[in-house]
Symmetry: C2
Subunit: 631 residues, 2 copies
Amino acid sequence: MTPRTQPRAAVRPQPVPFTAVRFTDAFWAPLQEVNRTRAIPANEKQCRATGRIDAFRLDWKPGMPNEPHIFWDSDVAKWIEAAAYSLATHPDPALDARLDEVIALIASAQQPDGYLNTHFTVVRPHERWKHFDDHELYCMGHMIEAGVAHHAATGKRSLLEVCIRIADCIDRVFGPGEGQLRGYCGHEEIELALVKLWRATGEARYLTLSRFMIDQRGTSPHYFDRLRASEPDAPVYKRHYVAGFTHFQAHQPVREQTRVVGHAVRATYLYCGMADVAAADGDSSLAKAGRTLWRHATRNLMYITGGIGSSHRNEGFTFDRDLPNEEAYCETCASVGMILWAQRMWHQEQDGAYIDVLERVLYNACIAGMSRDGEKFFYVNPLASLGQHHRQEWYGCSCCPPNISRLLASLGGYVYSAAPGRIDVHLYADSEASVQAGATTVRVRQTTRYPWDGSVTLRIDPATAGRFVLRLRRPGWCRAATVQVNGRSAKPRLVGGYLEIDREWRAGDRITLRLAMPIERVHADPRIRHDCGRVALMRGPVVYCLEGCDNGADLDALVLPPRARLAWRFRPGLLGGIGSISASARRELPFADAPYATQAPRTRAQRITAIPYFAWDNRKPGAMAVWIRGG
Amino acid sequence: MTPRTQPRAAVRPQPVPFTAVRFTDAFWAPLQEVNRTRAIPANEKQCRATGRIDAFRLDWKPGMPNEPHIFWDSDVAKWIEAAAYSLATHPDPALDARLDEVIALIASAQQPDGYLNTHFTVVRPHERWKHFDDHELYCMGHMIEAGVAHHAATGKRSLLEVCIRIADCIDRVFGPGEGQLRGYCGHEEIELALVKLWRATGEARYLTLSRFMIDQRGTSPHYFDRLRASEPDAPVYKRHYVAGFTHFQAHQPVREQTRVVGHAVRATYLYCGMADVAAADGDSSLAKAGRTLWRHATRNLMYITGGIGSSHRNEGFTFDRDLPNEEAYCETCASVGMILWAQRMWHQEQDGAYIDVLERVLYNACIAGMSRDGEKFFYVNPLASLGQHHRQEWYGCSCCPPNISRLLASLGGYVYSAAPGRIDVHLYADSEASVQAGATTVRVRQTTRYPWDGSVTLRIDPATAGRFVLRLRRPGWCRAATVQVNGRSAKPRLVGGYLEIDREWRAGDRITLRLAMPIERVHADPRIRHDCGRVALMRGPVVYCLEGCDNGADLDALVLPPRARLAWRFRPGLLGGIGSISASARRELPFADAPYATQAPRTRAQRITAIPYFAWDNRKPGAMAVWIRGG
């Protein structure tokens, strides 16, 4: 996982901001447009219709409808964050004005001491900081992310100032000093938010506070025990205490944690915070813990789609290789969290394996979370269905819709990293970018049909000719890659999963990367019992699935012979243009009478069609399966 | 399912009572002995230790421990019933005396009006007959079954008189008359119990009352709606009302029900009551409903082990062919209920297919419910396990342990039926019986090693020589059967699954039945998605399984090649003597690194060993699987 040799640049690369990257492709550009014009407005509409925005008026009284829920503030915050990212790339005065109005309302709800939480202000005003599972700091963390994003997008400090007051309030309440709470939140999020606020403001106290909460987590005497003592019969304690606070990743000090446990979204958010603090502080013990946890998660707890958190019971992890397909939880938020974590881990370790996971999650588990029209969202993302799973417009606990929106709106920020003397190309997509590598500004134009085709042409236009290393990720899924520079074959060194081209670059230089992208039959480790005797079909980063509307019901009665020829084609008219795979398979036929028989079922030939997993449930309702019997 | 021709005897056959049949075999006799000497005493001990018997003192007060639970009375009743059956075949003065003592205590708890229920007398004394899901009539039904059994076993009327008063109380409260409740119980049981009491006492009111409750069930205006109106927020209504009372099989009048739904134990008990009333009244519409429901259950809702009720959520049914193996519920009580129902259906329809199911349930799902030492019990009986399932000594809701005990203690009653001019042999086991076929008394001596061997010799000793039809069930699992009578090959007619031998019988006549009993690979209907691509191994009526202690962990990594030779042998030293199957299989090996790969897993040869499913979890804890990958 660690690169064999360190890349040359001495200064660590940083992500190239999403504002510097513009997708011009037929894959992400339309999805971003749908996100901007449909999903983000749908989030706003729902936040208004359900009373989430009005909650900031603080005029709710017992007995009235729309009691502000503990996590409502975070839904509004994530919508603001997504809207701000959208504004940054697509100015929209009306949206800008509506944001100003909502932000003014939010500011009006802030208490004199900086505290901001609608639920704990109007529903349980005397219970501040008494409940570790009530998302108090989690909501504030999301508000801080929104404030930072809004400031970056608009230059306005209206929400940022609110967030500074929030953070100052938290900083007074929590900490190692006398009279301060030695605590942290049951739902992690504030840790990474405080690092963002530190970066946006330069105020070191916020980084210190994040580090304090991370260091404090899981230590003895346990902060949650102290809260529990005052309320021993609270359902949350009964439910979660038996597991020693694993649900909250608070069962051990974080540096001692070696296994990913508990609630999946909380886990990924914590690990993001750990990576942020490790990077800011050069904290190698924290970095090492993150590396160990990453390895555990990706080797033992991850679906082929990149989804994590297999169980509905705890919205999280169970035990190694327990990855049921039909019952899979794979919350969309956990996929977003995994992408956030993967990006941080790459910047910590600079190994392409991190981006391999990021890409796997992004093209599969993550974007499956939104309908093609941007108006419906999956909360859970199973890998098999009998047809009972459908995206919904909104949820009572609606964390996922605005989460996928904020990710899509800022997706350009995952394509490149840069440092003086180097540019890292993580993702391939037809796009234009302006990359700042130290003092050098380089325009990079990718021309490609990725992920439907593995050929990528990169035109490199440095503002002034000069030497730097261009590093092209060679995806882990790819078994054969070639590179040409200005039409001539090149043999770049492979370092940490990246093909390094170190040369003097001039405007108009062209690189052609050809990634072989055949259809692959993928097998699971036989210890993943749910996938035994089955294969999944992948092509490039995209996992395919069978849907009932193409293949009929009873998808487990279909068997793909090991030697069946698999044919891929691009279908421009299907769901906005997607690839599909077809093959000759066999269908086992129902028994006429008894459910059990000594004769094997008869079979008949059936042509099967697989479409990308991310695109399922966008046509007629019906069954779906990623893992197909046979070979 | 219906026999092609009706058997000859005009009078319907009746079961030969268990007191007339004595097992002398190495299979049932030891199990009955363990039941008598270990399981029934264990049930008594638990009923005493947990306060279930003391509850009848009616001295519980709020705040005291051991609050009598709504279903406690039924556990005591089922223990008494089992103990009574045991007394009938194995006189035991000490047990007899203890029963007298407990019965006296029970009698002392009966209220002046005949009402008997510890919970509703001491915990909620003002809530009689107000809750349809609180097992009130269910408990009384079990007490009536106990009273009838105790009277039959001992001739004593002590508990029977209590039960008559109970039934008279119910008969005053429920019925079509003015001021009577037009109701019935959410947990069926009373229906079949009242028929037993009618048979024991000759009092027709009890049969009429049972018929009333069956006829009333599911009709409009709905009895449960009336109860619900007084308590709209009760959790049970919220949980179950959405399904229109399917949980209680009260969603439609029973004659209109065509699909088996809801709670599995409740369903089988209702269907028993329906069959009893249909038989008593010659009610063909009720009989037809039972036939339709049976067909639905056995074709769509039954595991290969005979287990029913696949879901933990409702302890019951979901949808057709939804039969997950690891998550299977298959409550032991539902298996007992299935056996009770099957016996009644055979007597209604006289088709061997009913006994095929009875035998399937009995040898597999049912007796798996008890440990080999008679001291631990399964409540749920999955068909696959990672090692997390183990029998327990007792349960908070401990319906299953005494249920399996009462079945085993009376198992002899399932071997034969008889009517004037005919004897039906349903089950094969080394045993002695005295069968009354009309005026003729016939001793039947079975000599066999069944279920380990398919050869059965029956010696027929009529008290006086005479003509009658001996009907030998030809099991549905058997593909080749031969019959010899006194050493000469016979070609008996097959009628409704029974080989009919119609002749003049003399003392000493011998029949040799040879049932071919090879190991069979059994396939499931491909619409049962959980079993696709897998086989189960059966030999005779016995389903086999792989256990971790024989085969290692990760049983789904094992593949049985379609042509692998399967070898069966009897192992006298294993778990009291059981058969086992071995074969050469392949084990897929774990991946070294990533969980997903484009290469199929490597394999190595592994000898596998399967033991009878009923015997699993009697050695070292570990994994278990009935359905094996491959062919």
